[in-house]
């Protein structure tokens, strides 16, 4: 093999590898990226059970119900127009409370309850997922 050829071969392999990586990433992203959805969006276009999404909204007033096991809670996430029932087992963040913003990660079960695997609450003014900022004001108005 001539000197020029080895560099060319390596360059071609590298380009193919990077393009391959791009394809792998796109396929992976199509299957695994979790969409951010509000209750209104879910009411308009239901999410199939088992598909992971992030659900964002306000914890409805008076909706938090503690289950007998002491670690499971049921609550309702709303955005002023639609509501989604949520169940979560675990330790809720310190700032998780009624009438404040929340992002729940998880998926719907077959009966339409959102089973959250992780809950993010508003930490402080500096830590807030951008889509939540508008909602915070909406919640305060309503």
């Amino acid at each position: 093999m001539k000197a020029k050829h080895q560099r060319l071969t390596l360059a071609i392999i590298a380009v193919v590898a990077v393009i391959g990586a791009g394809f792998l990433a796109l396929i992976g992203l199509r299957d695994n990226a979790a969409l951010f959805r509000t209750p209104t969006e879910i009411a308009a276009e239901p999410v199939p059970p088992g598909q992971s999404i992030r659900l964002g909204g306000m914890v409805a007033d008076g909706s938090i119900v503690q289950q007998a096991d002491g670690v499971t809670i049921d609550f309702i996430v709303e955005d002023g127009e639609a509501q989604v029932p949520v169940r979560f087992s675990g330790i809720t963040p310190d700032l998780f409370q009624e009438n404040s913003g929340v992002v729940a990660e998880g998926a719907f079960d077959a009966r339409g309850t959102f089973i959250a695997t992780n809950i993010l609450a508003k930490h402080d003014e500096n830590y807030m997922p951008p889509p939540m900022e508008g909602m915070e004001t909406a919640g305060n108005d309503g």
Partner: protein, 640 residues
């Protein structure tokens, strides 16, 4: 006065940086050797001035001088001394000043110590370093002045984010910055060598310690960051694929590839263009990391301030430097002669395969990290988390580690498959035994952790193979470095696989006096009490854990409430034993005397960070070994 002196030092340093760039350009383009000779002292003085500016900012923080806006916004008189000190870089402006200081000091160190490189290449390198520096000085002085005064001075400061008030985290950012700045030097060497058409073994030898050094710091920074996230966030995970974590992982992946290719260039004179390209990619990833973290487009504990102007500025710098370097690469790479040839089945071949896989993984992580930003711009929001990264990058990482184990067993230039087969029999046997043990003895586990454990056992044995039948006293130190680093990968991989396959979790609401079994431990809850610390109050859980009827150990997980700024954090209590960690978190009270407890037993989880430290130690051995050998060669040449 201190703040004004700091600002003056910063302006002077920026001016000298401009001078350094001008001298370099004049020396290279117009043959002004007089200016070229002055570039070393200028670089050294610039480094000193940047150190003075940073030192003065530290002083302002230690005195809690509230007339300085940055101090007032980020510090508090009641804060422990360590966090006043570390708080200097616990904010946007301070951390950028630290970045610039390290950048300038790195340039000064090159000016002081670099003696092998051709004179014009060194001048071009220092000019390139100044070109990077000047952009960051402009960024600091025009959009992020750390010394701005506040009038009138407030009576009290606003404090530091409590999550950042942790000894581990105090030294995590500087460690990463050392890594980033070290890659800037590698980048400058590459640009310098391209400009003077001096891409060869001498250039690679000059660049190698910088790549190794920054790689060590990045490894340590990532390891420390991972452990911090593990014990401070109270979620029991050690890697979240958070964009900010990825921002430190991406330069590490690129630096790992660069580290191996620069070694091939230094010792075999192959992969010239490849090494230059990787140096550009590695520094680009440092810039992307800085951009992601500092621009405020990410919301996390790392994003200090959302200011679009700053984001745009860093993005501009990023495009300027990377675009400039790529254009230079395109123009000049044709003039770089091809290095020495090698066969596909050879150590070079394995290193190229590894390099390609590292770059593929890097692309996957980069695309996954940027994807949410792209969709955000398109008007819908997604989050990309572990399901994407683990399924797409995980299998590739396992292939990468397999090749990593094989590479050192192959000969340079050319080898035969047949010879390789006999050399890998022992590692394959170890892997087969692990597989048999997992299939026949242990309950079924996921495919990735299983492959991980099998691979870890094979790689652990294979990593020592380069020492086989060698006189250990005469084995060079950098060979030991490679052995340690590769063994460290096996150790960390084993820890990750054990943790994901065999973790036991208990989540209960417990009355005082109740006992819960988790892993080999019996954990008894003895109630919760309020306590107070220097700038926080907390509810502290009282747990006792005993193992097989042994002596009980007291564990006190806390839910802390900080006063300034008002924030709550969860402090996990962790009990470490030889075969894993008991990880306990106190949750909320239900009002009827029950408290939520989350208990994990994570077998061999400590291997993850132990492996990380072994990798860094391997890097250190390699660096010291290389530098010592270089010095000996140089002395021999002097006396010859």
């Amino acid at each position: 006065m201190i703040a004004e002196a700091g600002l003056a030092a910063l302006w002077l340093a920026a001016a000298l940086c401009g001078l350094q760039l001008w001298f370099g350009v004049a020396a290279i383009r117009n043959g002004r050797d007089d200016l070229g000779a002055a570039i070393r002292p200028v670089a050294i003085i610039q480094g000193l001035l940047a150190m003075i500016a940073f030192g003065l900012l530290v002083w302002l923080f230690l005195r809690t001088d509230l007339s300085v806006e940055l101090v007032a916004r980020n510090s508090h008189a009641a804060k422990p001394m360590l966090y006043k000190f570390a708080g200097t870089w616990g904010n946007h402006e301070g951390s950028m000043l630290l970045w610039v200081m390290i950048l300038a000091v790195a340039g000064a160190l090159v000016a002081i110590f670099e003696r092998r490189l051709r004179k014009d290449t060194l001048i071009a390198t220092l000019a390139a370093q100044a070109a990077i520096g000047i952009g960051f000085y402009a960024f600091l002085l025009f959009s992020s002045n750390p010394f701005a005064r506040l009038s009138p001075a407030p009576a009290e400061g606003q404090g530091l984010n409590p999550l950042l008030q942790d000894p581990g985290l105090a030294f995590h950012p500087p460690t990463l910055y050392f890594g980033y700045a070290g890659l800037s030097v590698a980048f400058s060497f590459a640009v310098g060598a391209l400009i003077t058409r001096d891409v060869g073994t001498v250039f690679a030898r000059a660049m190698r310690p910088w790549v190794l050094g920054s790689w060590i710091f990045l490894t340590l920074g990532i390891t420390a960051g991972s452990y911090w996230a593990y014990y401070e966030l109270g979620w029991g995970g050690w890697w979240f694929w958070d964009p900010v974590e990825n921002a430190s992982l991406m330069p590490w992946l690129a630096a790992t590839a660069l580290l191996h290719s620069v070694t091939v260039l230094a010792t075999r004179d192959s992969l010239r263009a490849w090494t230059i390209m990787l140096a550009v990619i590695a520094f680009s990833m440092s810039m992307v990391g800085t951009f992601l973290v500092r621009s405020g487009i990410l919301t996390s504990v790392h994003a200090f301030a959302v200011d679009p102007q700053r984001g745009t500025f860093i993005l501009g710098l990023l495009i300027l430097y990377i675009g400039g370097a790529l254009a230079l690469f395109a123009l000049r790479i044709g003039t770089v002669r091809e290095g020495k040839q090698f066969q596909l089945i050879s150590r070079e071949g394995a290193l190229v395969a590894n390099n390609l896989l590292l770059i593929v993984i890097l692309c996957i992580v980069l695309l996954g990290t940027l994807y949410p930003l792209v969709t955000e711009a398109l008007g819908y929001s997604v989050s990309v988390g572990p399901p994407y990264f683990n399924t797409v990058a995980g299998p590739l990482a396992l292939i990468l580690i397999t090749i990593m184990a094989l590479g050192p067993l192959m000969r340079w230039r050319r080898d035969k498959w047949r010879n390789l087969v006999s050399r890998i029999s022992l590692p394959v046997l170890a892997a087969a035994l692990a597989l048999a043990a997992l299939v026949f003895i242990v309950s079924p586990i996921g495919i990735l952790p299983m492959l991980g454990l099998v691979l870890a056992s094979g790689v652990a044995i294979a990593s020592f193979a380069p020492l086989w039948k060698r006189n250990l006293r005469r084995t060079p130190m950098f060979t030991f470095g490679m052995v340690f680093a590769h063994f460290g990968i096996a150790v960390a991989l084993a820890g990750m696989a054990f943790e994901s396959a065999f973790t036991e979790e208990v989540l209960v609401a417990s009355l005082p006096g109740e006992t819960h079994a988790v892993g080999p431990y019996e954990v008894t809850f003895n109630g919760a009490e309020p306590i107070a610390g220097p700038n926080w109050t907390a509810i502290e859980g009282r747990l006792t854990a005993s193992r097989g009827g042994g002596t009980p150990v007291v564990l006190q997980p806390q839910a802390r409430m900080f006063s300034s700024p008002e924030t709550e954090t969860s402090e996990a209590a962790i009990l470490t034993s030889w075969n894993g960690q008991l990880y306990t978190v106190l949750g909320n009270s239900d009002g009827d005397g029950r408290w939520q407890l989350r208990l994990w037993f994570k077998p061999f989880v400590t291997l993850i960070w132990l492996g990380g430290m072994l990798i860094a130690l391997g890097g250190l051995l390699a660096m010291v070994g290389r530098v010592r050998r270089e010095r000996r060669t140089m002395e021999r040449e002097l006396y010859a």
